[in-house]
């Protein structure tokens, strides 16, 4: 599938005077995509629009080439795991998942078996006959994920799927989500926890106040944030000599020393700067014991784009960091 799975143009959703989504124009490609943003950014609103739980106030939204609102046939291709904790607490895990599987069109004679297989896959083999009301938070999350995948949908919408899970459960669920992506499913995962998204995917959409700030590959987005040059932290035995070597090159924007052995280079041209550092080590014998980029990650992207946002900044219509 090379066509975008989700296409939106000028999408708006408001609740009375509160704007949830504001002129959102984005195409979501196949694969695992992280939907990122602070609380109130519009992640859940967007996901609910994608699953047809909310009607768009304005604009165009298509999922798998079809309109969403009141489109029953499309829902057969979608699996949705909501962010809230509400479940039918008196039903057992198997009953809950099997009932929803039947509503998705799985024949009654197969629904129970499929429910049990899915629950087993998610580590609920021992608990599947107990009422969900007796489950722990992590088990409930798994039960919710089970109902989303039991009918093997093409598109999975997971709204904060790791909320309330302990670290072990998080690791297991992240692994399962990545497996689902590897199986060819389209997975859109929303979270406000950056390292969770980083663990699952490199492709993100960053939302802020109902608008897209950036979308695409994390690292390409980073490259394009010109207002904040890349930082490269170099641990070297003779940092001043290294700095002297580097300062003449046009790719170096500035240098700073945090202590005798560490020099931090800021550059707007990381593709030129990294080979320069490597050449410096080779040609001059500098002993470089460490090299890292402290702000080449999602947290820094998030910080730069949300805190430094200005009309002249990079966030006019979203920074597109390359599409697949």
């Amino acid at each position: 599938m090379s066509q975008p799975v989700v296409v939106s143009e000028g999408l708006c959703k408001w609740y009375g005077k509160v704007v949830g989504i504001n002129e959102l124009t984005v195409d979501i490609p196949p694969g695992v995509t992280g939907l990122l943003g602070p609380n109130g950014a519009g992640k859940s609103t967007l996901i609910k629009l994608l699953v047809g739980a909310l009607r768009p106030s304005r604009g165009k939204l298509q999922v798998l080439g079809q309109k969403v609102w009141r489109n029953r046939d499309l829902l057969a291709h979608i699996g949705y795991c909501p962010d809230h904790d509400g479940v039918h607490e008196d039903l057992s895990g198997t009953e809950f998942v099997a009932f929803l599987a039947r509503l998705s069109g799985v024949p009654a004679d197969k629904a129970n078996r499929r429910a049990e297989e899915t629950l087993d896959r998610l580590g609920l083999a021992d608990a599947r006959h107990r009422p969900i009301g007796h489950y722990s938070k992590g088990m409930r999350q798994r039960a919710k994920l089970a109902q989303a995948i039991v009918h093997q949908p093409d598109l999975l919408l997971l709204d904060e799927p790791l909320t309330g899970c302990d670290p072990l459960a998080r690791v297991q669920l992240v692994k399962i989500i990545k497996e689902l992506g590897d199986e060819g499913k389209v997975v859109i995962v929303s979270s406000h926890i950056l390292h969770e998204i980083e663990a699952m995917t490199d492709e993100i959409i960053l939302l802020y106040k109902g608008q897209v700030l950036a979308n695409g590959n994390i690292y390409r987005i980073r490259e394009m944030i010109d207002a904040h040059p890349h930082k490269i932290e170099i641990h070297c035995d003779d940092s001043r000599a290294l700095a002297k070597y580097l300062v003449g090159d046009q790719s170096v924007h500035s240098l700073a020393f945090s202590n005798d052995n560490v020099v931090t280079v800021q550059t707007r041209m990381p593709d030129q700067c990294y080979p320069l550092i490597a050449n410096a080590a080779l040609d001059n014998g500098f002993k470089i014991s460490g090299l890292n980029s402290p702000d080449n990650n999602l947290q820094s992207i998030f910080k730069y784009l949300t805190e430094d946002r200005s009309p002249e900044g990079v966030a006019q219509r979203g920074t597109t960091g390359g599409k697949r």
Partner: protein, 257 residues
Amino acid sequence: MIPTPPSAFSVAKNFASLSLRRLRRSKLLRVVIALLFLPVLSAAIVLISGNAKTEFFDRMQEIYLRFLIPLVMALQASATVAEEVQQKTITYLFSRPIARWTLPIGKFVGLLLLNLAIICVSITATYLLVMIGEAGVTLELPRLFAGLLSTSLAACYYGALATAFGAMVISLPFAVMMTYVLVVDIGASYAPGMLKAFSMGSHLLAVAGRYQPQSGFLTSDPELSLAISMPIIIAVSLVWLVIAITWVNSTEYRTDK
């Protein structure tokens, strides 16, 4: 392979069986049965006291029609949609390839069939206890059938009303529905003149053969009978169901409020 979306009938059946299964596990079913057997208990007490008369059955029938059946149907059917929204489980249901109207209708049909069974047993038992007690009176089967018909129609009407209120009013649907029943259905049935025609309570009494029109100085009550009232009750019930269907189909139920 993506399963084909299920038919509306099978979805409605699933909802009916889910609501019955959950009802069986909850205390509510026991409460409903206890409530519907209170007239039977009353008839037994009256029988033991040796004062059982047909008028007592008529009085019990009025209690069934004016209060008991609206109460039990409101308790169960007003939660069909409202409960799912309050528990936030509606997100699972409406993210499935189903017609939304199957939720209220499926649950309504399931609850109606169960309650009809309980109501019929209850009213028959009440009738038999009263008739056993009243010496020298033969079993008036038409009276019993009128009672069964009127209570069945009452269950159908109040179930439809509760389903509609449960779809439209998410918080306190029971209180809103009971207020409507007290003011409109019951209150209007005590009002003079043509206002009685707007009260389903009057029509249900007409089906039961208990409606007595009165003529006053300025007003006269409408002439209601089985032939007039039964189609009206069925039609109004269908109207409420259509309201429930239309509302559910067009509303976006928010669970984040």
